[in-house]
């Protein structure tokens, strides 16, 4: 099958009435939840994915993907209107988007965000269709040694490249590793750190971690603060950007898409980093950098394009390698496993309807987002006016239902509450939960592959350097480390 056949096949899957409906429901729910304060794609998926349990695999994943873009986009809306990012990636959108809104240009800002996202979504979808299958065949060459090297690179990249304090980032990764190794050891079959609790012998569930660290902790922090959210609705004038706006943002949109697509594919980096990187790039390229942060439309178009392109290409390593590029993708991975699909190189070959159906539905989902969001801005704002005292009990209730329904075990609900306390402490200490989640997901995988590679090689560690793909990842790991260490070294020298 060539590309065109594959895409046609995908669209026939996605255009079935059932799948179209689930895609729409996903996008709608995702947007609805995504505009809620403090709730991004990760929490949205964590909260809503039990809804897909009873569905067959294809519609379930199409709906989850819809929730994912929906939540991502919903986060941009609140970033622009009320300076409230739904997630890390849209924090950048706040910088200029909120300023535009204060100048009464919320309409063009929202519109350009939608257009940029849609453009990036189209390119991202095409890219997956073009490069995804090639990566998939290539992925069959991945043995335990290659996975080990890849995981190592991802872990180093996520620890070192995450914004903020590098030491705290590293500490969070290590904490994540420690939580990740709870459960049955693959090699010996023995339970580790389970303290005799049978429910812990399968480890700390991902829903428990995601909901506890993000949703529960966030709510506790919000409850501490007095309600002081302002809503700028009165001055939204004119929805559409002018011709000059479009001209100004066209190249930033293209560059943002390119940057985002690149970072999206790299496991461990993801959309958040891509929007920061592209914002910095635009600021460097701009003739008048001082406009940034004061309502420059490029400052909205580029990061919005970047985070959506990254959101799309993040599916490539997950669908073809079974490697989650972001914490959100790790959740999607969990959802796939729950559907009885062991993610990995074989998904594309064994389940073409799933792979191509999801790709086609990505494009449809992006289109639905544009159609849904532009006319509905007014509705979203009204939803934001729901007093927090009504909002948070419902969110907590959803969290409990979600956690219980994973294993039908109330232990998970208590554990989630405990993780929520941990998340609150971490927020107070200004430690980011994202590296923790990545350590939690990647650490046990790294251990599993490392030990398997060494078992197969009879304990010979040179396998990581004699196999070409593994060697390439090892070199890249050293390279990433060097990039990060170099500026620090230079600074030290200047100080001296």
């Amino acid at each position: 099958m060539d590309l065109l056949d594959n895409l046609v096949f995908g669209f026939t899957v996605a255009f079935s009435l059932q799948n179209l409906a689930y895609c729409f429901v996903g996008v709608l729910l995702g947007t609805l939840v995504g505009v809620l304060p403090g709730i991004g794609p990760l929490v949205a998926i964590a909260m809503l994915f039990p809804l897909t349990f009873s569905l067959p695999a294809v519609p379930a994943l199409i709906m989850l993907a819809g929730i994912y873009y929906g939540a991502q986009y919903g986060g941009s809306t609140t970033s622009i209107l009320v300076n409230l990012p739904g997630e890390t990636a849209s924090a950048v959108t706040c910088l200029d988007g909120y300023q535009m809104a204060r100048q009464g240009r919320a309409g063009p800002a929202l519109a350009i965000a939608a257009i940029a996202s849609f453009f990036a979504g189209c390119v991202g979808t095409l890219l997956i269709a073009l490069v995804g299958p090639a990566l998939g065949e290539w992925a069959l060459l991945f043995g335990a040694a290659e996975y080990t090297a890849l995981m190592l690179m991802a872990l180093v990249a996520s620890a070192v490249m995450s914004q903020g304090d590098a030491v705290k980032g590293l500490a969070m990764v290590v904490l994540g590793l420690l939580i990740g190794v709870v459960g049955t050891d693959v090699n010996s079959g023995m339970a580790r750190y389970a303290f005799g609790v049978p429910a812990l012998s399968d480890g700390v569930g991902f829903t428990v971690m995601a909901v506890g660290l993000f949703a529960v902790a966030e709510i506790v922090v919000n409850l501490e603060q007095r309600e002081s959210r302002e809503v700028y609705t009165s001055r939204i004038t004119g929805l559409m950007p002018t011709a000059k706006d479009l001209k100004d943002s066209s190249w930033p949109m293209v560059r943002g898409t390119a940057v985002g697509a690149f970072f999206g594919v790299l496991p461990g980096t993801g959309p958040a980093l891509s929007s920061f990187a592209t914002y910095m790039l635009e600021k460097k390229l701009a003739r008048d950098p001082s406009r940034f942060g004061r309502g420059a439309i490029e400052g909205v178009a580029a990061p919005e394009a970047a985070n959506n392109a990254a959101a799309q290409t993040a599916f490539i390593p997950m669908l073809t390698l079974g490697v989650p590029a972001t914490a959100t993708m790790a959740l999607m991975l969990g959802a796939m496993t729950m559907q009885g699909i062991e993610p990995g190189p074989h998904v594309m070959l064994a389940k073409p309807e799933l792979f191509w159906g999801i790709i086609a539905s990505m494009w449809i989902g992006n289109l639905m987002l544009v159609i849904l969001n532009l006319p509905l801005v007014g509705v979203w704002i009204r939803l934001l006016r729901v007093p927090y005292r009504w909002l948070f009990p419902s969110i907590i209730m959803f969290c409990c239902i979600g956690n219980y329904s994973v294993n039908n075990n109330e232990f998970d609900v208590y554990l989630c509450a405990l993780v929520g306390v941990l998340g609150y402490v971490l927020l107070k200490l200004e430690c980011e939960p994202a590296p923790l989640i990545l350590g939690y997901v990647l650490g046990p995988l790294l251990e599993e592959y490392l030990r398997r590679a060494l078992l197969i090689s009879r304990g010979d560690p040179t396998v990581f350097f004699t196999r070409p793909i593994s060697l390439a990842f090892m070199i890249a790991t050293v390279f990433i480390l060097a990039i990060m260490v170099a500026p620090a070294v230079r600074r030290k020298r200047e100080e001296a």
């Binding site: 049978p198 429910a199 009885g340 062991e342 078992l455």
Partner: protein, 317 residues
């Protein structure tokens, strides 16, 4: 220990078999939804519902290699309204693997009926120059310690089947455990590991596509799903038999007439053409047995796996 707890908590009044069932029946599935255990429970439950007019609710209680759900079933009220779809792991292997479990597969359960058996298939990667079980044994003996076999987990029937194979043939193969069968399949296909003897459904399509080679099936008779593949027993290891199985059980103190009713009904359902077809599609063979036959089968399985586990020195606690 908490011996015989099922009896201690039983309500005084015996349930009358004549009125059974007059309320919904709960089938505990100690594994996640959509697995073989779950699908079998739903298939049988749906047919019971149709003939008895009472809903049959599948209650998934996954975790700890099936031990969480099995413990719940062992302690449930023994009135016939809670039964469990057990499996080879929960009811013939785990008590030996985890000696500290609070329940016992024989003491705490009244067997209802064996439902289905799934043979394991012995497959090798295409790069391994062997075409039969005898050639495999010869190759492994000529290259001691060179061959790696994969299994979906330590203590799984795939792991223990291969350990049985090793002890019966005297060859030396290294165990590489995975998390689930898909990883094993991918690595056998790519030649990262040499072979496996795992549940047939995952592997058969790849055998038929020519990406891996089947040497034999581990059941006593050839499987209807692929009658051209010999049994391992006839191909060079006489007497090797290792299957994964699934069957219904009730808490030990459940009234005999109710267990009998459930057994007869299960056997009837397993003979239905559409049920037969669905179970065959899962790569399994529908069985259906009396409580006495099933109890004898479980006891012989426990003895067989205990010997394999002890010979291979598998310890999980």
């Amino acid at each position: 220990m908490v011996s015989g707890c099922a009896c201690l908590f039983a309500p005084g009044a015996p349930v009358q078999a004549q009125r059974y069932p007059d309320k919904p029946i709960r089938v505990i599935v100690p594994y996640t939804p959509a697995g073989t255990t779950d699908i079998l429970a739903r298939l049988i439950g749906q047919k019971m519902n149709e003939s008895w007019g009472q809903p049959v609710i599948v209650d998934n209680r996954p975790g700890a290699n099936g031990n969480i759900g099995t413990e719940i079933a062992a302690r449930a009220t023994p009135d016939g309204y809670t039964i469990i779809m057990g499996a080879a792991a929960t009811h013939s292997i785990n008590n030996t693997l985890y000696p500290k479990l609070s329940w016992d597969a024989v003491r705490d359960f009244a067997p209802i009926s064996l439902v289905a058996v799934v043979p394991n298939i012995l497959v090798v990667g295409n790069s391994l120059p062997v075409k039969s079980v005898k050639e495999l044994i010869a190759y492994a003996k000529a290259n001691p310690g060179k061959l790696n076999y994969g299994s979906p987990g330590t203590g799984s029937t795939a792991h223990l089947s291969m350990e049985l194979f090793k002890s019966m043939t005297g060859v030396n193969l290294n165990h590489i455990p995975y998390k689930g069968s898909a990883g094993v399949l991918a690595d056998v296909m790519a030649g990262q590991i040499s072979l496996t003897m795992d549940n047939i459904p995952v592997y058969l399509p790849q055998v038929q596509a020519g990406r891996i080679r089947a040497l034999g099936v581990s059941s006593a008779r050839r499987t209807p799903a692929a009658p051209e593949i010999p049994t391992v027993s006839e191909a060079g290891v006489p007497g090797l038999e290792a299957v994964t199985w699934f069957g219904l059980l009730a808490p030990a103190a459940t009234p005999k007439p109710i267990v009998e009713m459930l057994s007869v009904e299960t056997a009837r359902i397993l003979k239905l053409a559409d049920v037969h077809k669905r179970i065959s599609e899962l790569g399994a063979e529908p069985v259906g047995s009396t409580p006495q036959q099933y109890a004898a089968f479980i006891r012989s399985e426990i003895v067989k796996w205990r010997k394999v586990i002890q010979d291979a020195g598998v310890r999980l606690e």
